[in-house]
């Protein structure tokens, strides 16, 4: 068999491949079943969000940015509001900050639950998808009763949040957190020891810490490679410095670690939400900000840690009511860019696992 002549060939994966989480096209140079080279082609989901924001007032940018990274739209709301608040030096009421932290962390849990389900489904286990989405639903219900939408929230505003927490939110939130915490044991029971899952993920797609740092990988993917870097700790924003939580780190950098790390993070987020709910003060939920406020000229880069990594927005103001330039930075872009550097010499089926555990979503890449 060894003298059989083989030939390398090109394979198009995507743009509509179900495991690319959006529309990403990857041109793969294949040698049999082995992936030799990856060339990601992006831009199928480009909606020119940055340019659209230049023609909107600061308040109007927020619903547009909801569509930037719609799995954790709260963090997109928040990062832009943070940038505008820093530009205009707006003081945010205490209650609003607590509500924001609750929402951001709930959104992180929802995103990780979606990750859990979708990754498992990509790799071939259908049951976890239903489990993950079921618990995510309870969080989306909380969002819906708070701000009226399940995906594009438009809840966090410059100077606070748009509405106060509704009646019955706190008990319902505790209930949802308790359920999720209980169900986490189920999630782990389904996959953690499952031999098929282990064969598909352990030792697959090892992302070395140096490569990750070189390519600007952030978030859970970086922490799974052994680098303890979390903006909630390293560059604290909002009131995260008041809460007690751990930054989970794992050291192998393979698909299995990236998966486990996110389950760890769900636990930490539950812990943060509980602390924030307990410490929730009375008071205003929004500072008085005119919808057409004009921040002074200047520029600011605000960055937060969302469920995928560093989410940043660079806003340049020229003193008018509309931003002169808005530049967004999503972690998924770097997560796609790093693929050619480490995901070579793997089986095609493993590439799906790697892509899924990098937790890339395409709207964040293409904007």
């Amino acid at each position: 068999m060894s003298d059989l002549r083989t030939e390398e060939y090109y394979l198009n994966m995507g743009p509509h491949h179900p495991s690319t989480h959006g529309v990403c096209r990857m041109v793969l140079k294949m040698d049999g079943e082995k992936v030799k080279e990856i060339e990601p082609h992006i831009g199928y989901l480009h909606r020119s969000i940055e340019k659209i924001c230049e023609n909107r007032t600061y308040a109007q940018c927020i619903p547009i940015l909801d569509r930037f990274e719609y799995v954790t739209a709260m963090s997109c709301n928040y990062v832009f509001a943070l940038a505008a608040e820093r530009l205009a030096s707006i003081e945010v009421p205490e209650r609003a900050e607590h509500i924001r932290v609750i929402m951001l962390e709930l959104n992180r849990i929802a995103s990780h639950l979606l990750f859990y389900g979708v990754t498992a489904m990509d790799i071939g286990a259908l049951t976890p998808f239903l489990y993950g989405l079921r618990e995510r639903e309870s969080i989306l219900d909380l969002f819906e009763m708070t701000c009226g939408q399940r995906l594009t929230y438009n809840y966090i505003r410059v100077g606070g949040v748009s509405r106060d927490l509704p009646n019955g939110f706190i008990p319902k939130c505790h209930e949802a957190l308790n359920t999720i915490e209980k169900k986490l044991a189920d999630y782990e029971g389904l996959l953690n020891e499952n031999p098929i899952w282990l064969v598909r993920t352990v030792g697959i797609g090892v992302l070395p810490a140096k490569v990750a740092l070189d390519y600007g990988v952030s978030g859970p993917c970086l922490r799974a490679s052994g680098v303890q870097y979390d903006l909630r700790r390293n560059d604290p924003y909002s009131i995260y410095d008041r809460f007690e939580f751990d930054i989970p780190v794992r050291h192998n950098g393979d698909c299995y670690d990236r998966y486990l790390l996110r389950l760890d993070e769900i636990r930490q987020s539950i812990h943060i939400v509980r602390q924030a709910l307990d410490a929730l003060p009375e008071g205003d939920f929004k500072a008085k900000v005119s919808p057409n406020f004009k921040p002074p000229a200047g520029e600011v880069y605000a960055r937060i840690e969302n469920s995928r990594g560093e989410l940043g927005v660079h806003v340049i103001s020229d003193g008018t009511k509309k931003p002169l330039r808005v530049k967004t930075r999503g972690a998924s872009y770097n997560h796609i860019a790093v693929l050619p550097a480490f995901a070579t010499d793997v089986l095609l089926a493993d590439l799906v696992a790697i892509f899924a555990t990098m937790d890339v979503i395409m709207p964040e890449v293409d904007r």
């Binding site: 009763m145 701000c147 009226g148 438009n154 748009s162 020891e193 064969v199 057409n292």
Partner: protein, 187 residues
Amino acid sequence: MQGGIGNMGIFKDIKALFSGMRITSKHLGRHAITLQYPEEKWEMPERSRGVVVLLSDKEDGSLNCTSCMLCMRACPTAAIVIDSPRDPETKKRNLKKFEIDFGLCCFCGLCEEACNFSAIKLATKYEFSSADKDSFLWDVNKLQEVGRDVDYIDTRKKKKVAPKKETTPAETKSPEKKPVDQKGENS
């Protein structure tokens, strides 16, 4: 760590597979958490942002809108089009056209927030999909008609207004309640 057929991990693997089956089988006896959608429906939360409607006065059924155009300016997608020329004599605005294009609307709720007169609201209704693009352009009559039974809290400052001439509710022209000039700015 890696189990497989070739080593002693086989018993561990079988055990893990069965523990997964056990978790799944726990769900055998419970009720479905989904709903049979067209027959059964969720009750939407009060704040749910569905279709945009124009609200009418609870007493006389006239439009609350004073055509101050705040919602039009707040709209990030320019889905709201208002035409309300000023009457040259009374200096009041006359609502000539109020259209919302739901093909553009992104249901952000900024219009509702901008409104000072409890005139526009995102109601909890949601089933209005259509295969016809033109049917997404709702004019003032339709917006008012859909908003008739929508409950809302009237936050307008009660100011006694002399009852206007009779206006049919479905007519495009709404009675003017307040001068717009002073209210339009305190957004």
